[in-house]
């Protein structure tokens, strides 16, 4: 693994498989000379103009055989994605052809790029920061539109900007605290109230950032939605209906489903992982009992629950037991079999869980399933403000949380009147995390701020 930035890398940069066009990209000091060895521009000029599509032919320079026609586009460094010399060769999208182009490139002196190496180089060359690099990775892997949109915005640096602004406020905060500690004889007139205001503001910002992580995670990983209810209420039928596929076995007999079945569905661009499981109730078989136990555990961790009730039968103590057990989880009440004659006392059920939304459906006929999906999105998926930037990474979330924690601790100390040096200590405790999230804050930076803002010095 002999990796340096000195060599020129090459890779197919459009997705695998057949497509209309395919692009082979080169980056590194030799990008252009190598590209010109394998691609012959039709009207050869002395210099290839920058950022202009030049028509020409892909050429095997040994056999002098023309393989394809296409365009070459040259992005001179540092005005390129990686800040290095970059050339894109646009060809027809056949995998065989594109692989051949790469092979020719390697023969002409390039080396195959490691996965993600173009982005890595952009990062190493200072073109993008870590957050942007991560965002680009997500964009490449994005499987739904919303996700792509968010990744794209991050790539544009909006999350970076938001974090930069939090960083600025932290420097600001340290400036206030340190000035008040360091220069007791100067009339800088910094009050604890002033420090408090900045602290609160910052904690608010970080809180919003952290909660946006939940949204980001939902979009990136999908939401887990567990279907539960007594046996035979129609859980598997509902599962199949939502899936639009006969995935789970459905029988008229209670205790049909004994283990989980998971499948993914897309609801309006949001990924949901549906889980069907054994029905609750008297287990008639040890296997079923184990299934029920596991089901409970999984339901505890799910992002949302669909509690299915059989509307054609009277409510039972087990229904209430179940509702009580999961009273703190996000859930929807689904009154199934609404195509049959109702027997359930719906009001009585609803009274036990006030505020929970409900819907009458028929898994068999498909009645109200559209409505159910909409409600699932509203209740389980976090509310996305279209303008809100979203944190996508666990790593960042952990950092934001730990910074927020330290600052809250600082606020508590301030309110107790514990002395600014301890408030400062709380903020300083967060510095390693801040460093990882936003880049290191050196104390020289704080001192710079102090001297810029306050007239210090006798």
């Amino acid at each position: 693994m002999n990796q340096t930035l000195e060599d020129t890398i090459i890779a197919i940069s459009t997705p695998a498989g057949h497509g209309g066009i395919g692009i082979v990209r080169l980056s590194g000091p030799e990008a252009l000379p190598i590209a010109r060895k394998i691609f012959c521009v039709k009207e050869p000029e002395q210099n290839i103009p920058a950022r202009t599509m030049c028509f020409g032919y892909l050429l095997d320079d040994e056999s002098r055989e023309t393989l394809d026609a296409g365009y070459l586009c040259y992005f001179p460094g540092p005005y390129s994605y990686t800040r290095e010399e970059v050339v894109e060769i646009h060809l027809h999208g056949s995998p065989v052809l594109l692989n051949e182009a790469v092979r020719l490139g390697i023969r002409a002196g390039a080396r195959p790029a490691h996965p993600g190496e173009f982005t890595l180089r952009a990062y190493l060359n200072g073109r993008i920061d870590v957050i942007q690099a991560e965002a680009i990775n997500d964009l490449i892997r994005a499987s739904s539109l919303d996700q792509a949109r968010i990744s794209f915005k991050q790539m544009e640096g909006s999350l970076s900007r938001k974090i930069a602004s939090a960083r600025e406020k932290i420097v600001d905060l340290l400036t206030l605290v340190e000035t008040s500690l360091e220069f007791p004889d100067e009339d800088t007139e910094i009050t604890p109230e002033q420090i408090r205001t900045v602290l609160l503001d910052l904690i608010g910002d970080l809180g919003r950032l952290a909660s946006s992580y939940e949204q980001g995670r939902a979009l990136l990983e999908g939401l887990t939605v567990a279907i539960l209810g007594r046996t035979n209420v129609g859980k598997s039928t509902l599962f199949n209906a939502l899936l639009e596929e006969e995935r789970a076995i459905v029988t008229p007999y209670p205790g049909t489903t004994r283990d989980f079945i998971r499948e993914n569905i897309q609801v309006d661009g949001v990924l949901m992982k549906l889980v069907d499981m054994a029905g609750f109730g008297q287990a008639s078989h040890p296997v079923e009992e184990e299934g029920i136990l596991r089901g409970q555990k999984l339901a505890e961790k799910a992002d949302g629950l669909l509690v299915v009730l059989d509307a054609s039968r009277e409510e039972s103590p087990e229904d209430f037991l179940l509702l009580n057990k999961f009273r703190n989880k996000k859930k929807l009440l689904v009154f199934n079999k609404s195509d049959l004659k109702p027997a359930i006392n719906r009001q009585k059920v609803l009274d036990t869980c006030p505020g929970v939304s409900w819907v009458e459906v028929s898994a068999l006929t498909g009645k109200n399933l559209g409505q159910l999906k909409k409600m699932m999105l509203e209740t389980f998926a976090p509310q996305l403000e279209k303008q809100e930037e979203i944190i996508l990474h666990q790593r960042q979330k952990v950092l934001v949380d730990s910074i927020k924690n330290s600052l809250e601790n600082g606020l508590k100390l301030l309110d107790e009147g514990a002395g600014e040096e301890l408030v400062a200590e709380a903020i300083r405790e967060a510095l390693p995390a801040i460093g990882q999230l936003t880049g290191e804050i050196r104390n020289q930076e704080v001192l710079d701020q102090i001297f810029n803002r306050f007239c210090i010095g006798k």
Binding site: L120, L181, N443, C455
Partner: protein, 627 residues
Amino acid sequence: MSQEKFAEEYEVVVVGAGHAGCEAAAAAARMGASTCLITIHLETIAQMSCNPAIGGLAKGHLVREIDALGGLMGLLADETGIHFRLLNRSRGGAVQGPRAQCDKAAYRLTMKKWLEEIQNLRLLQSVVTRLIFEGDRIVGVACQDGTRIKAGAVILTPGTFLNGLIHIGLTSYPAGRANEPPAMELAQSLRECGFKILRLKTGTPMRLDRNSIDWEKFRPQPGDDQPVPFSFRTSRPLKNLIVCYVGYTNEKTHQVIRNNLDKSPLYSGKIKGIGPRYCPSIEDKVVKFPHHPRHQFFLEPEGLNTSEVYVNGLSSSLPYEVQKEILRSIPGLDQARILRPAYGIEYDAVSPAELKPTLETRKFKNLFLAGQINGTSGYEEAAAQGLVAGVNAVLKLRGQEPFILGRHEAYIGVLVDDLISFGVDEPYRLFTSRAEYRLNLRIDNADLRLLPYGFKLGLVSEQEYQRFQEKQGRIKKVIDFLSRERVKDEKGEPIPAVNYLKKPGINWDKLVEKVEIPVELSPEEVRFIESEVKYEGYLRKQEKEISRIIRLDNLLIPQDINYREIPGLTREQVEKLEKNRPENLGRAKKISGITPAAVYNIYLYLEVIRKKGLRDNVPRGTCEPDE
């Protein structure tokens, strides 16, 4: 090979008898080395060139540390102090710093007397003009009169004298201090050594005649009722013998300054050196903060037997005429007579990146630099470096382990490490915020942190060490007592007395209302116990972190490591690492441009990738590891 003839020979020669030089010479001699301290004027030994004060925040901490290591500054400031204050008295122990105003003449004379009393130490009035080397090792110095002195080690502490240039208005003249000749040849000699030379600037305000000031117009600032000494060795009670006064400039003053900026060497571009931002001239303040209606200044008497008053806050390099006009604009100073005009001074310094943590130069063996020559400002910063250089010069000559304090154990460690790791781009001053472990670096535990070192080095006497141990014994007794004893809190619940003391808003005075302490304690010991109890949780946490860092810093980097294999390092970083080949992670951290992220990547590589043989399967894309 030089064929120099030497008139005399010493183990250690110190050039310059300012605050750095005095500590360096005293430490070297008291450790038993034959030492010669050379100065231009024996009359100006330990001269306070600028303000008449020692200490303050961070600086007061330094003085305590110097004292705990057996240095002189603390004891001398107590001895000659005439006005004592503990800054941040109402705040926690970690940010309290003692400050004293001293009688300048007494300070000077007493230091001279003390130095004269030290065995092995010889004072010499002369001007060093040249350094004498054999290969890459210094072997002596040559003086203006042709005398050559042979030395095992040389410590240079020339202050602002190196190539000094004084500015008053647009007039300038070479000088090391007002009306004292600069060290031109020595400066030249250093340039010829190939050191990276910086040009720095500082300034000092005017001194006024006490009898020409209308004191009624100013707010008095008396010293503390219970003065806190610097030195652990000072036992006599301290007394405030003078009062300082606070005053303010006004719009009229600022107008005068604005009208005369064209006569300022600073604003006309005549001064090229970089001045300290924390110690700006009054013209700087007016220009940088145009909306401030007034700027504070302090009137500080320079001693008991002089009528000179130092105007702290009105440092300036404007012409004498303008200085007079400035004073005329301030009620109470309108009749004031200037005894010495304010001036700015430019001087040479050597980039401290040239130094090892012992303050020995990297280029030349046994040549040490301390004080302003290393780009610092302040008497205390200078004295601390002097002590470090003096001690290490002797250790080096004896072939012993160097004495290097860590950032976690002393402000002295922070100071030296900042200097050699980051260099300076303005005169460097210590701040408490520069320390990572501020809660541990306190005035009240300076002896606990450092006195054992001082004892081991031979700078702290047997008797003092004994006293220190007795003090620790008393403290332990009381802390044990407080952990056992229960007192009632506000709600009437009985809780351990330590927990009560830990509460915000509760101090020692409130505690002793509730519980009788069986041991008689000094205020110093009370201060220590209060801090230890209040900061307990933080201190334990920091202790853990410190030991973790020390462990990591000591992690060895194999000399045959291929830095190119480590993901996440930039090309420049790889080049720097290949050039320096640091032996451990701690050293790698010190190389400029090696960021914490880079260090982490190296660590990860050493600990995870190499150990687990994942060499060919390093995650790519981003370089930040997830945990």
